[in-house]
Amino acid sequence: MPDATGLELIAAEVRERLGGEAVVGTMYHRGQATLDVAPAAVRDAIAFLKDHADEPYELLMSVHGCDYFPEEPRLAVHYQLLAMQRTDRLGVRTRMGADDARVPSVVDLFPGADFQEREVFDMFGVVFDGHPDLRRILMPEDYEGYPQRRDFPMGGEPVLFTFNEHEMPRWYD
Amino acid sequence: MLLEQVLFFVAAAGAIGGALGVVLLRNPFFSVLALVAHLISLALLFLLLRAEFIAAAQLVVYAGAVMVLYVFVVAYVGGVEETVGGEGAIGRVGPVFAGALLVELCIAIIGSALPAIDSRGPHVAAGFGSPGAIGKLLLEKFLIPFEAASFLLLVAAVGAVVLARRRRGLEDSVG
């Protein structure tokens, strides 16, 4: 794990490479380092970390979304990078508002991000620019809304049984 | 009525029905099935004529191998439906020609002077059409046709392989 100083060093390198506004901030919590990156710069930052000369993070383990609802910007996409040789993890986070939820896709860098980015799109409505096949993955294709956002109601889905199918007009649409 | 006659008429009806089905059905898959029915009826007729080995060969070779090839090819190229008869003179001439041929053949058969043609044939021994008897005849008297037939089979097999092979070079020029 990069410690707090190491994280600052990485952040400085990323800033140096991609410009000052690329890195929004850093976060070091419970021994875990997370780099806060601007949405537009996230692909470049991850590409930089992947091909870092000294300390490459060559694997992308997880991509997941998050909704910090009352806070703004509320939506976030997390990337968990892994350096297998050094057994080191680094989180990359990018936050954006719900209205302009667009992030460049990293599928070309890490093909494994394919399904995970689709899941984030499915659940949070974050659009990944450059994703080859951005469709819903877990919810039905014609589903409306993004169920994992915090303002999406819990338990709002009526369950269809044979005894109540008449109470659900046009359920078959 | 003798059992033999019942069997004959049943088999004859099957044979003619199958033959008509081959010609009249539009979907080639059903045509193939009609021919299978026709072949089975013919095998029954062969049995009536005491040619049991031929009947078995008919089933094994024709129904079991040749028609399977047909089924495969029809499944491969798909059922291409077409109209029967169709446009043009040939479509109308065909049945007329066939009818004329039929009349002529019937005159030839029924009006034939052959004395044995209207008989049941001589009494034959039990092993008349048995594999042993046919095989003996085939290897002793008709060895050259037998060998020629096997050579023909070989040529046909090679020819089929050559025909069905993929030739990438030529494919492009034909488009």
Binding site: - | L2, L47, E52, A55, A56, V68, V71, A75
Partner: protein, 339 residues
């Protein structure tokens, strides 16, 4: 009583006797298939460290009855893409060709069984074409599977039908050639004569290679594991009988088991000396049944043991190993017999 005007048979019986025999064979099928079904389920249970059916009746003996009742009570459905009359016909063809093959299996010699002063052959019919009879109807059995798969209008069924067709064709050649050695040695195609000529030695000894080829090809011809590709449940759901339910499926199912019995009978007659065995003459049919039973247990045993082959491996094995081996076997036998 007139005689059937059909092909000549070496021992001719009256039509009435033939009808009785036909009824007996059919009854035999109806009795033996549920028994094999139960045997298979019980044996599989034992092979798999479990009990097998034991709820219906004492020791689960009525399980086949329950199975049949369940199948009978099932809804008969037809996919909208199917050809209904063909779907109805296909299981019938399968059953028919399977039962007909049973007719030539000899359970005993003709001379030794007298009843009411006449003598009867303990077989359905002893045709001079003998084993070719089985092949003729085996060839027709193809249409049961093919029509079933094609008429279902389902892609899985179609895949299964194509698989079964390819498999039946490929292995029928080996099956036939493996028996050529026996036929040459016995000098006859008739099953009774072949059994009779095994007086001194069963053909499984001189024709061991042929026997092995026959067994392998027989597994493939009956679609039993490890050659159950036409109905490989893990791959193509249930192959050609995917869309069949109720008694139509039951018919396919039954046909498979009758085929198993028929193949076991042919193997018994061709290789294991048919009714030959120690003991008095009336034991003959028992011996045949015991030998067939052994084969059926082998079928079940193999099913519990072996995984399934892959399609290309199946084809390669059939054409590249089994067929040349069978050909060489037939040639060598022919040369040995001729000299």
């Amino acid at each position: 009583m007139t005689r059937l005007p059909l092909a000549s048979v070496s021992f001719v019986e009256s039509t009435g006797v033939q009808i009785v025999k036909a009824v007996v064979i059919f009854a035999f099928v109806l009795v033996v298939v549920p028994m094999i079904l139960l045997l298979e389920r019980k044996l599989l249970g034992r092979f798999q460290a479990r009990l097998g059916p034991n709820r219906v009746g004492p020791y689960g003996l009525l399980q086949p009855l329950a199975d049949v009742l369940k199948l009978l009570s099932k809804e008969r459905f037809t996919p909208s893409t199917a050809v209904p009359w063909m779907m109805a016909m296909a299981p019938a063809i399968s059953i028919f060709t399977a039962v007909v093959t049973l007719a030539i299996i000899p359970f005993g010699d003709v001379r030794r069984h007298g009843l009411f002063g006449a003598s009867y052959g303990l077989y359905g019919i002893d045709v001079s074409i003998g084993i070719l009879w089985a092949f003729a109807f085996g060839a027709l059995a193809f249409y049961g599977l093919m029509l079933g798969g094609w008429a279902s209008g389902s892609k899985y069924s179609f895949l299964g039908a194509m698989r079964s067709a390819a498999q039946l064709i490929s292995y029928e050649v080996s099956l036939g050639l493996s028996l050529v050695g026996v036929v040459i040695t016995a000098g006859s195609l008739s099953l009774t004569q072949i059994v009779n000529s095994q007086d001194h030695i069963w053909y499984v000894v001189p024709q061991f290679v042929g026997f092995c080829i026959f067994m392998v090809a027989a597994f493939a011809e009956t679609n039993r594991p490890p050659f159950d590709l036409p109905e490989a449940d893990a791959e193509i759901v249930a192959g050609y009988n995917t869309e069949f339910g109720g008694m139509r499926f039951g018919s396919f199912f039954m046909a498979e088991y009758i085929n198993m019995v028929a193949i076991a009978g042919i193997a018994t007659a061709m290789f294991l000396g048919g009714w030959h065995g120690p003991g008095p003459g009336w034991l003959d049919p028992i011996w045949v049944l015991v030998k067939m039973f052994g084969f059926i247990v082998l079928f079940i045993w193999i099913r519990a043991t072996l995984p399934r082959l892959r399609y290309d491996q199946l084809m390669a094995f059939g054409w590249k190993i089994l067929l040349p081996l069978a050909t060489v076997n037939a040639l060598v036998t022919a040369i040995l017999v001729a000299t």
